[in-house]
C-alpha cells in the first residue's frame, strides 16, 4: 500500500471508529438512562423532572418526551401546559402512522431505537384520562367531556397501529384483547353522567362491564362493585331495566350485594382515583440462538429468522443429529416486574361516609400483554438484523480480517434492545366512591398498604351541591 492511500485508509478507519464510539455512547437502554425521572417525581421535584425530560429532546423518542412532559406538568398542577404537551403528543402520534423507510432501513443495521417510538395502547389511552383531569381542574367540564368521548377511540386506534406491526395470527389475537378497557369506559360513563348525559353514561357503563368481563385474564381485575351500582342506578332510573336484568342474568358477579346502607338519594358524588406504583418496564437481556448445520435448507432469511424465533422459546430442544454451527447473540427486551409501591389502596372518609378504593385497572399487566403480543415480531426483526450483521461481518472478513473486525465491532456496539416506554405511568389504578350530602366536607384520605395499615394521610376539602360530581386523582409514587 502506498503512503497516501494508507493515510486515507487510516482516516476512514479512525472516522468509522469515532462514529462507532459515538453511537455506542448512549449504549445504556432507554429505561436505564431515564430512571432518574422516577426519583425526581417521587420526591415531588417537578422542575428537576422536567429538566430530565428535556435533557434528551427530539429524535425518535419525541413522543415519549411529550407524554412524560405532559404527565409531569399534570402532577405539577400546570394543567394548561400539560394539555398543550399532550395535544402535541396526540398530533405526533397521528402523524407517526406514516412510517419512515429510511428509519426502517436503519433499524435493520443498527437497532430498533432508530425508529420513531409510536406508543403502546395502554400508554396512548391514558392521554385522554389525564387531559380530562386537567380540564376538570381548570373548571372546563365541556372539554373534559370531549376527552371522555375520545378515550376509547384513542385506545382502539393505538391497538390498530400495534396490529399493523404484527404478522402472526396468534400474536394478532393476543393484541386484539387489548382493544377494550373497562376503566376507560367506566371513567367516560362517570363523566357523561356528571354532565346529565345518562343515555351515553349507561352505554359506557355497559361497555365497561363487558370489557371488564372480557379482559379479566389480561388485567386480572374483576368488575368493580361501584360499576355494578352505577349500572343499576342509571339503568333502572332511566328506562334500561331490561338491559340491566339481561346483564344481571348473564353476569351476576357484576352486581354484588350492597355492603352498607344505601346511599342518600340527594347529594353529590365524589370519585377518587388512586394511581399507585410504577408501570412495569422492559429490561435488556442477551439471547444466544443456535444456527444449525441443517439451517441451509431454509430458502430465505425470513424463514430462517422465524425458525430462530421458535428456538428462542425455553421449550425448544435441539435434536441429537444436528450440530450448532454458530451462536447468534442478540440484545432483546424482557418485561421487568412492576414496582408496585407501598400504597395498595386509599380510604376516603367524611363525617357521613367512608369508602375504600377497589382495583380498576392494572397498567403493568396491560404493558406485559402488549409485550407478549409484540414479542414474536420484535424477535423476528432482531434476528433478521443479527443475521444481516453476521453476513456483513463474514463478507468483510473475506475481503480483509481487519475490516471484518470493524464491521463486527460496529454490529456489537450498536446492538441494543428497545426498552422505550412511558416510564412515569402508574402500575395500577383504583377507585373509591362516596355519596355526600350537600355542603362543605373535609375528607380524610388515608393511604393504605397491603395489610390495610395507614402509611400516611392527607385532607381534601370538597364543596358538594346536590347532583354535583367531584373527580379527584392522586398519585402514590
Amino acid at each position: 500500500m502506498n503512503r497516501p492511500r494508507c493515510r486515507r485508509a487510516g482516516r476512514a478507519l479512525s472516522g468509522t471508529l469515532a462514529t462507532a464510539v459515538a453511537l455506542a455512547a448512549g449504549c445504556a437502554t432507554y429505561v436505564a438512562s431515564n430512571l432518574e425521572l422516577r426519583t425526581h417525581l417521587s420526591a415531588g421535584e417537578w422542575q428537576r423532572a422536567l429538566a430530565r425530560v428535556d435533557a434528551r429532546p427530539g429524535g425518535t423518542d419525541r413522543l415519549l418526551e411529550l407524554l412524560q412532559r405532559g404527565h409531569v406538568l399534570h402532577y405539577a398542577g400546570r394543567f394548561e401546559e400539560s394539555n398543550a404537551s399532550f395535544q402535541q403528543a396526540e398530533d405526533l402520534s397521528a402523524s407517526l402512522f406514516t412510517r419512515s423507510v429510511s428509519q426502517a432501513a436503519a433499524s435493520l443495521i443498527v437497532n430498533d431505537t432508530t425508529v420513531d417510538y409510536r406508543g403502546k395502547p395502554h400508554e396512548l389511552a391514558m392521554v385522554p384520562f389525564y387531559r380530562a383531569f386537567n380540564y376538570l381542574s381548570l373548571g372546563d367540564r365541556d372539554a373534559a367531556q370531549v376527552e371522555a368521548r375520545k378515550a376509547t377511540l384513542a385506545l382502539a386506534g393505538a391497538v390498530e397501529a400495534t396490529l399493523r406491526e404484527i404478522e402472526r395470527p396468534e400474536d394478532r389475537g393476543a393484541a386484539r384483547k387489548l382493544e377494550d378497557s373497562g376503566v376507560l369506559h367506566w371513567f367516560s360513563g362517570l363523566l357523561f353522567e356528571s354532565d346529565g348525559a345518562v343515555n351515553d353514561a349507561f352505554v359506557a357503563y355497559r361497555n365497561a362491564a363487558r370489557a371488564y368481563l372480557a379482559n379479566r385474564d389480561v388485567t386480572g381485575v374483576p368488575p368493580p362493585s361501584g360499576l355494578g351500582r352505577d349500572l343499576e342506578r342509571v339503568g333502572l332510573a332511566h328506562g334500561f331495566r331490561a338491559e340491566v336484568e339481561e346483564l344481571r342474568a348473564a353476569s351476576p358477579e357484576l352486581f354484588p350485594a350492597p355492603a352498607g346502607p344505601p346511599a342518600a338519594d340527594a347529594g353529590g358524588e365524589v370519585v377518587f382515583v388512586l394511581e399507585s406504583g410504577w408501570v412495569a418496564t422492559r429490561d435488556q437481556v442477551m439471547l444466544n440462538l443456535p444456527i444449525l448445520d441443517v439451517d441451509r435448507r431454509y430458502r430465505s432469511t425470513d424463514d430462517l429468522a422465524w425458525a430462530l424465533v421458535d428456538r428462542a422459546s425455553p421449550a425448544w430442544h435441539r435434536s441429537y443429529d444436528v450440530e450448532v454451527e454458530y451462536w447468534l447473540t442478540v440484545a432483546f427486551p424482557v418485561m421487568a416486574p412492576p414496582d408496585t409501591g407501598r400504597v395498595s389502596a386509599v380510604r376516603v372518609t367524611s363525617e357521613q361516609a367512608s369508602a375504600t378504593s377497589e382495583p380498576a385497572d392494572d397498567l403493568s399487566r396491560r404493558a406485559a400483554a402488549t409485550f407478549e403480543a409484540e414479542r414474536g415480531q420484535m424477535l423476528f426483526r432482531t434476528i433478521l438484523r443479527a443475521l444481516a450483521k453476521y453476513a456483513a461481518t463474514r463478507a468483510a472478513e473475506r475481503e480483509d480480517p481487519t475490516a471484518g473486525a470493524i464491521v463486527n465491532l460496529l454490529g456489537v456496539l450498536t446492538e441494543r434492545a428497545d426498552t422505550r416506554c412511558w416510564l412515569t405511568l402508574p402500575d395500577r389504578l383504583s377507585v373509591a366512591r362516596l355519596t355526600l350530602p350537600a355542603g362543605r366536607h373535609e375528607l380524610r384520605v388515608e393511604y393504605l398498604d397491603l395489610s390495610g395499615r395507614v402509611l400516611h394521610h392527607e385532607t381534601e376539602t370538597v364543596d358538594v351541591a346536590d347532583g354535583d360530581w367531584f373527580f379527584l386523582n392522586r398519585r402514590a409514587f
Binding site: R5, R8, A9, A12, L13, G15, T16, T19, A20, A22, L23, G59, T60, D91, A94, S95, F97, T98, R99, S100, V101, S102, Q103, A106, I109, V110, T114, D142, A143, Q145, V146, R149, K150, L153, G157, E160, R164, A396, E399, D400, T402, A403, I406, V407, L410
Partner: protein
C-alpha cells in the same frame, strides 16, 4: 484494508446518524384559503357551517312572519353551541361566525351575548360617574332579544388502516324567548375523508 470498504462503512454510519434532520418553513397564506392538515375541525369548517345555517335560517318564513307581526327586524342572541364530539372544537369561533353571518345577512339584528353585556354594562356604569351628562348612555334602553339561537355539534368517526371518515353535524334551533316556541331548526353536515400515506422516505 481496502479503502472502499471503510468508505462504505463510514457512509452507512453517517446516513444512520443523519436521518431525522428537518427544517422549518413558514409561508403567509390568505386567510380564506382552505388548508387541512390533521383533518380535525378547523376555521374553514366553522365558517362553512355558520354560513350554511344562517342562509337556511334567514331563508325561512320566521323572519318575514316576525316583520309582519312586530314591524321590525327580529333581534337574535346567539346562545350556547355545545360540542358533543370527541374533538376539541373552538365553539366560540363558531358562535362568532354565526353572529357575523347573521349580521351580514341584513335580515336580523344581533344583540350582545351575556358575557359581552356584562362588560358593556360595566362601561355604562362607568359613564354615569365620569362621562359628561350629554354623552353618558342611559340605563334601561337595551334592546332585548326576541329569539335565542342554541345548538350542538355531534360527530361520528370511523377509522381503519390509516383512513378515517369524519362526519360532523351541527344542529341549531331558534327559540322564541317569550313563548319557548322553536321557530326554526336547521342543520348542516360536514364529511371529511382523512387519508394518511403508509410510508415516507
Amino acid at each position: 484494508m481496502p479503502v472502499q470498504t471503510l468508505r462504505v462503512a463510514a457512509a452507512v454510519v453517517t446516513i444512520v446518524a443523519a436521518f431525522g434532520c428537518s427544517s422549518t418553513t413558514v409561508t403567509r397564506v390568505p386567510t380564506e384559503e382552505q388548508i387541512d392538515l390533521s383533518g380535525r375541525w378547523n376555521d374553514t369548517d366553522s365558517q362553512q357551517a355558520a354560513q350554511a345555517l344562517v342562509d337556511q335560517s334567514t331563508a325561512t318564513p320566521w323572519v318575514d312572519a316576525h316583520l309582519v307581526e312586530r314591524g321590525r327586524k327580529p333581534a337574535v342572541i346567539v346562545g350556547t353551541v355545545r360540542n358533543k364530539t370527541p374533538e376539541h372544537i373552538a365553539v366560540k369561533t363558531l358562535v362568532a361566525d354565526l353572529e357575523r353571518s347573521f349580521i351580514n345577512s341584513g335580515r336580523v339584528t344581533v344583540v350582545a351575548s351575556a358575557e359581552e353585556r356584562d362588560e358593556i354594562r360595566g362601561e355604562r356604569e362607568d359613564q354615569q360617574r365620569y362621562a359628561s351628562e350629554e354623552s353618558a348612555k342611559a340605563w334601561g334602553r337595551e334592546r332585548g332579544a326576541d329569539y335565542m339561537l342554541i345548538g350542538e355539534v355531534n360527530a361520528q368517526f370511523d377509522a381503519e388502516d390509516g383512513k378515517e371518515v369524519k362526519y360532523y353535524q351541527v344542529d341549531c334551533y331558534l327559540v322564541d324567548l317569550e313563548s319557548n316556541v322553536k321557530v326554526w331548526t336547521g342543520f348542516t353536515t360536514i364529511k371529511k375523508f382523512v387519508g394518511r400515506s403508509r410510508y415516507k422516505p
